[in-house]
């Protein structure tokens, strides 16, 4: 296609808008309501351009180019029209400062008078300096205002956590409403009322808490003015630099940008690119600043003296730890965390295996989601899948998971698909964020869901009988097994017809589940059934790990544990413990010596003999494997709080204190090289990352896409001995998690 913009010719393919074409030519057209992630809206009328042969000017953002189109973006007529439209917009937006004669003098005195209840001009506005409207005023060249000012707002609304809303600053561009609907699918806010009284609001004027808002902050991020702001940093939003890091608060591995002023965090914004592509969630968006500098952080090592933990120096604490651990060499257990980077886990694992000869090294969290059908072997890991693949699915099965809380970015992908007409089958006995979108709701907990899955699989396999050529391995034996399994549960089978109907019309399917669904004695069977269902329908098998590095940790732990430990009952009773993973339920039982590597004051650390302050995710560089299986590298965005050290430094320090030959894993490069040399699955993924594809960790044992045996219920499973299933928000005893939990309770009301 060939079009002319301001006399310049552009050859283009596809059907871009005039705005896209102009940008390609480097021609700037001012915009306000346009946002590159959102469907064109054409409401602000700032981007109007002239098109030869059309009576009325057209908005560049929403007008597709046509062959031979001649566009003029900057004729005096258009410029005058833009000024007039902007004049109209500003008559409803506090704009005293734009035309003030004292503007320049004011700049100097600004810091003194900025805070105010209701802004009347830019100088009093939290968005001053980063406001799109200010930019457009400059670009359009508006000099004066000709209409009387109308204040639309009635003060700043603060009924909700995290977000301040000031209708007086709102220009009704609709970006927040659209992002809430088009991207997040929360539909918490919408336009209310009509004509000059229209505002952005909620159903019946309720609080955001009561209308299904998940406080993802996407609306704040797209707001072009100061109408929506983050309360905590309302007047502190001018930052000096932005540093990228990988969020460690759940398994999604969102790339976030920490904004800093004078080296201290101001706020956090989601960054572009996979996996989160500009989206975040309530945790990543609003609480990381609090977390990093929280008053409950350990900033100095502590040692128990006369029964009381007292602060001391690193030398002292390490010496104490060294003495204690040396006594129980070979009888020490180590608890790691799947939230730590691969390098840190590897360093701690090597310390445990090669120096301490630990009796056991395990993860604090349940990693069952990534293991399949192997109660003890841990030999089969789920294959990778990407967010993009997930958003292509046309029917979703979600088991026992409030996806928007435990895996917000998967939640976004599911929303995108639901908006395009995908269907959702929600299985679980609780209440979930996605309840209101479910086409079929099966009330069955992890224990009962096995019956439902068996019935579904049986119906599908029997239906497919006649024309199913090239059956994958294990088909016949699977059918045999299905015959022997108990009959269908009557409650679930009522809905089976409908679900089977969906599955026949809609492919691919996605089966999404979290640790809760595969924990307990029925866990391995549930996982095996799901895997077989996914295999049979050609669907996606999507385990949702709750921890930042759950996938990586599973691989590393398998390598560390590979035949290295004598597992006699006597040795399994450890005398000393290194607690590097969070364990809110930890009760000291017979251990003589406990070293805690912790970041926040909490119950576990309070029982330790030595507490070594450790860094948290934004303070350390390292590699994380997210829930997709994607290898990502995070850099350190801030310096560690106080004297906190990285886990791998602490591991090296402890090795030195024990007087052992230190594996030189202190630097990131050394730890990384050693790790890659030892764990082939990671090495394989790294090899691929050097190409263009994302680095995805390959699942082991799934290459054949065959069926797996359905194991019997694991009757040896002892719930008391199993690790308690932790809350996904329980980050290192992270205090602000309490606030998020209360939010969730409020929402379920």
């Amino acid at each position: 296609m060939r079009i002319t913009i301001d006399g310049r010719v552009l050859e283009t393919s596809g059907a871009p808008t005039i705005l896209d074409a102009a940008r390609r030519l480097g021609i700037s057209i001012p915009t306000l309501c346009e946002h590159r992630r959102l469907v064109p809206y054409a409401a602000c009328r700032i981007c109007l351009v002239e098109i030869a042969g059309r009576k009325l000017p057209a908005p560049a953002c929403a007008t597709p180019v046509e062959e031979g189109m001649e566009v003029i973006t900057n004729s005096p007529k258009i410029q005058a029209l833009r000024r007039e439209v902007l004049d109209l917009i500003l008559s409803e937006h506090p704009s005293a400062c734009l035309i003030c004669l004292e503007k320049e003098n004011c700049e100097e005195a600004k810091s003194m008078i900025r805070k105010t209840g209701e802004p009347t001009g830019c100088i009093l506005c939290p968005a001053d300096g980063r406001c799109d409207l200010q930019k457009v005023v400059t670009e359009v060249g508006l000099k004066g205002l000709s209409h009387p000012m109308t204040y639309r707002g009635s003060g700043v609304r603060r009924d909700d956590p995290f977000i301040d809303r000031d209708d007086g600053l709102c220009i009704l561009c609709g970006r927040c409403v659209r992002v809430c609907h088009e991207i997040r699918g929360a539909d918490a806010i919408a336009f209310v009322a009509r004509g000059s009284r229209v505002t952005v609001g909620t159903s019946m004027g309720k609080r955001l808490l009561d209308v299904g808002c998940l406080f993802c902050g996407a609306c704040v991020d797209v707001c072009p003015t100061g109408a929506l702001t983050e309360r905590a940093v309302r007047y502190a939003s001018k930052f000096e630099e932005q540093r990228s890091f990988i969020c460690g608060l759940c398994g999604q591995g969102c790339r976030l940008g920490l904004r800093l002023r004078g080296g201290r965090p101001v706020d956090v914004r989601p960054e572009d690119g996979s996996p989160n592509d500009g989206q975040a969630c309530v945790k990543g968006r609003f609480v990381i600043g609090d977390l990093l500098g929280h008053p409950k952080r350990f900033v100095r090592p502590m040692v128990r003296r006369a029964g009381v933990l007292v602060e001391t120096s690193w030398e002292d604490a390490l010496a104490a730890a060294g003495r204690g651990l040396a006594e129980h060499k070979g009888k020490t257990a180590v608890v790691c965390s799947a939230r730590d980077s691969c390098e840190d886990l590897w360093a701690l694992g090597r310390l445990s295996r090669d120096v301490l000869h630990a009796s056991s090294v395990r993860l604090a969290e349940d990693s069952a989601a990534y293991l399949l059908g192997c109660p003890d072997g841990a030999e089969i890991y789920a294959p990778p899948m990407t967010v993009d693949e997930l958003s292509q699915a046309r029917i979703f099965f979600i088991f026992e998971e409030s996806l928007h809380l435990t895996a917000p970015i998967f939640g976004v992908a599911v929303n995108q698909a639901l908006l395009k007409g995908a269907k959702l089958v929600l299985v679980g006995d609780g209440e979930y964020c996605l309840d209101r979108y479910a086409a079929v709701r099966v009330k069955a907990g992890p224990a009962e869901a096995g019956g439902f899955l068996t019935s579904l699989l049986r119906v599908l396999i029997n239906k497919n009988n006649s024309h199913d050529r090239g059956r994958p391995a294990g088909f016949e034996s699977l059918r045999q097994v299905l015959r022997t399994l108990p009959p269908d549960s009557p409650t679930a089978s009522v809905k089976l017809d409908r679900i089977v109907g969906f599955l026949e019309k809609r492919r691919p399917a996605a089966f999404i589940f979290g640790p809760r669904f595969v924990a307990g004695p029925w866990g391995h069977r549930n996982a095996a059934l799901l895997w077989n269902l996914a295999g049979h329908t050609g669907g996606l098998y999507v385990p949702v790990g709750w921890e930042a590095n759950a996938r990586g940790a599973v691989e590393i732990m398998a390598e560390i544990n590979r035949g290295a430990f004598p597992r006699s009952a006597e040795l399994n009773k450890p005398r000393a413990l290194i607690l590097a993973g969070p364990d809110a339920a930890f009760k000291r039982a017979g251990e003589e010596f406990v070293v805690a590597l912790d970041a926040f004051h909490g119950d576990a650390a309070a029982q330790a003999d030595v507490v070594l302050p450790r860094t948290v995710f934004a303070e350390q560089e390292g590699m994380f494997v997210n829930a997709e299986g994607r290898l990502q590298f995070s850099s350190a965005a801030v310096t560690p709080a106080g004297e906190a050290r990285l886990i791998r430094s602490i591991a090296a320090d402890l090795a030195r204190a024990l007087g052992a030959g230190v594996p030189a894993l202190e630097t990131r490069d050394a730890a990384f090289k050693d790790l890659i040399g030892a764990v082939p699955s990671l090495a394989e993924a790294i090899r691929i990352v050097r190409g263009n594809r994302p680095a995805l960790i390959a699942g082991k044992g799934f290459a054949a896409k065959g069926f797996v045996d359905i194991p019997d219920l694991d009757m040896t499973f002892d719930p008391a001995a199993a690790f308690p299933l932790r809350d996904p928000d329980d980050y290192l005893n992270f205090p602000t998690a309490l606030e998020i939990k209360s939010l969730r309770t409020a929402r379920r009301r």
Partner: protein, 583 residues
């Protein structure tokens, strides 16, 4: 109810229905549309029924309750058929005379009949009454013949005959070609050739396709669509089935504004009846074509009449319009090709197919074919719905049909096209009513609203009224319309209150241009029309308000003055002074 599995079944049924009525000598038609019911038509109906029962004349005298016939000024009224004897402004007590003398004996009750005001001559028959004499009622006449609650009545007068013809004797392209030859243009206001629109939708890639009937009639003082839907809903349904057949759509929607409860009731019932007869649903009349209709109720927004807003509303979203292109024919409801036409357009389709495009094209002017229903209201003696062939002059409508402005008054202007339209000054009463002429004169045909204004109307106040309406009804999506209508309404308010100055007039004019050029949808783009057209023809009135603080028509309360006093604001301001003096 009969389920019609074959076109022959329909004809058999029609024949049976026609035979049934042979015994009835005369029928009393009670017109009970919304307007009739408001003035007591149902009481008249009850009185007539009681009287017929009392005389035991049920086998000789029929009683038919229909929709509105258009002469709203005279409601409640009855027509005694077949003579067409018309009685208006009735009271229940008149029932005895009507049944005994007219229905049974065929005599005219003189004291109830219309009289020509100038001569006092009695005119009893419809075709003699000036209001009806000049009209050409091809659509509205059926309102007098059909009980909207009964599909049988519609079938008896030849209903669904056009459908049989379309489905079994013509191809889809043939139907479009017939509509093209008839020269039918959209009756919603813009006058876009219907066949072209249908052709675009037919050719558009994408499946399924949808068709919509826009019955969200929101112009103040206009109620053509309401009368058609209330009085003869099957005509609209038949038109839509034909349109769906022509375009290859299998699903349609009738979007009726929620403030029309009777229309909602009648259309809903009509859809049910058509469905149970096999005229809607799978295999219509045994053909391979299937089509079904859904009734959607609007929730009271003027802007929902804008096609893209209406579609958003059907989809369950807030009625915000969106930028066109893409036009609905390419991407409409749920992104699929969609055709949307006005009630009157759909109602014309069966007529064209039944009587032929040549007949239809013979009515009207060269470019505007067929008849058009106007709702004639305002300062005119006979208000009501008038159906005239395209090309008649305003004078014919106002003076011959409407009886002219009240005694002692002079015609000042005619407002056509509702809030989107404009005012035509008295000097242009000889203009022919067709799409092009009206547009050239600075107004639009619109959906058919026609408000007659005499010298007691203040044009500034009129513009203020419309702008206030638009300010309230703007959806608020795009900035020029949302802010612009409010500011223009405020400025006009100041003018009528006597607080405006010359600069305000200039500001009003420039605002009007901005809103017109920059707005997103038709509502905003035409929102300035009431101002621009009154400024063109009645600028002096604006100047009188601003410079002399005087309202020439004596309407604006705060500027009212007596002839012997120099112009001085009284009204609210004077009252305030008075109160202050007292206290």
């Amino acid at each position: 109810m009969n389920r019609l599995l074959h076109p022959g079944h329909l004809e058999d049924w029609r024949k049976r229905l026609m035979d049934e009525t042979v015994l009835i000598r005369r029928t009393i038609v009670v017109t009970a549309g919304t307007c009739g019911r408001a003035s007591g038509a149902l009481e008249i109906r009850d009185a007539l029924r009681a009287e017929i029962d009392r005389l035991g004349a049920g086998d000789r005298v029929g009683l038919l309750v229909t929709g509105c016939h258009g002469f709203c000024e005279m409601e409640p009224s009855v027509v005694v058929q077949p003579e067409g004897i018309f009685y208006g402004k009735l009271k229940p007590a008149d029932a005895a005379a009507i049944v005994k003398q007219t229905a049974l004996a065929g005599k005219v009750v003189e004291k109830l009949a219309c009289k020509i005001p100038t001569t006092g001559r009695v005119v009893a028959r419809l075709e003699q009454i000036p209001f009806f004499k000049k009209q050409m009622r091809v659509l509205l006449e059926n309102n007098l013949r059909v009980d909207p609650e009964k599909i049988e009545d519609y079938i008896r007068i030849g209903g669904y005959r056009a459908l049989t013809k379309g489905l079994f004797d013509m191809t889809s392209e043939g139907v479009i070609e017939e509509v093209r030859r008839a020269g039918l243009r959209g009756r919603g206001g813009a006058g876009f050739p219907t066949a072209v629109k249908w052709g675009l939708c037919r050719k558009a890639a994408g499946h399924p396709k949808y068709i919509i009937c826009n019955a969200d009639e929101g112009d103040p003082g206009a109620y053509m669509d309401r009368s058609l839907l209330e009085g003869n809903p099957h005509a609209v349904i038949e038109g839509m089935i034909l349109g769906a057949y022509a375009m290859g759509a299998n699903e349609g929607f009738i979007y009726v504004r929620g403030e029309y409860p009777l229309a909602v009731e009648n259309v809903g019932r009509a859809i049910e009846q058509a469905r149970s007869c096999g005229l809607l649903g799978p295999a219509i009349l045994g053909s391979e074509f299937h089509f079904d209709l859904q009734l959607i109720q609007g929730a009271g927004a003027f802007v929902s009449g804008e096609e893209t807003a209406l579609m958003a509303s059907i989809e369950g979203r807030k009625a915000f319009p969106r930028q066109r292109p893409p036009y609905p024919a390419e991407s409409g409801l749920w992104g699929k090709p969609t055709n949307i036409n006005n009630v009157e357009t759909w109602a014309n389709v069966p007529l064209i197919l039944d009587r032929g495009s040549a007949w239809y094209a013979s009515i009207g002017t060269e470019k505007s074919k067929g008849t058009k229903i106007f709702s004639l209201v305002g300062r005119v003696k006979n208000t009501g719905l008038v159906e005239v062939p395209m090309g008649v002059t305003l004078r014919e409508i106002i003076e011959d049909i409407g009886g002219g402005v009240p005694e002692g008054r002079t015609l000042k202007a005619v407002q056509t096209g509702g809030p989107s339209g404009g005012c035509l000054p008295a000097a242009s009463v000889d203009l022919a009513l067709d799409y092009e002429t009206l547009a050239k004169a600075g107004s639009i045909m619109g959906s058919g609203g026609m408000i007659v204004l005499d010298d007691r109307t203040c044009m500034v106040d009129l513009a203020r009224y419309y702008l206030h309406f638009l300010e309230e009804e703007s959806c608020g999506k795009c900035a020029p319309c949302r802010v612009g209508t409010r500011l223009m309404s405020e400025l006009l308010g100041r003018m009528t209150a006597g607080t405006a100055d010359e600069a305000d007039l200039a500001r009003l004019e420039s605002l009007a241009q901005t809103v017109k050029t920059a707005s997103l949808c038709g509502l905003g783009q035409t929102a300035a029309n009431p101002i621009l057209s009154t400024l063109t023809h009645f600028r002096s009135e604006y100047e009188a308000h601003i410079r002399e603080k005087r309202c020439p028509a004596g309407v604006c309360r705060e500027l009212a003055s007596s002839p012997d006093q120099p112009a001085r604001p009284i009204g609210r301001k004077a009252l305030k002074n008075k109160e202050r003096g007292r206290s």
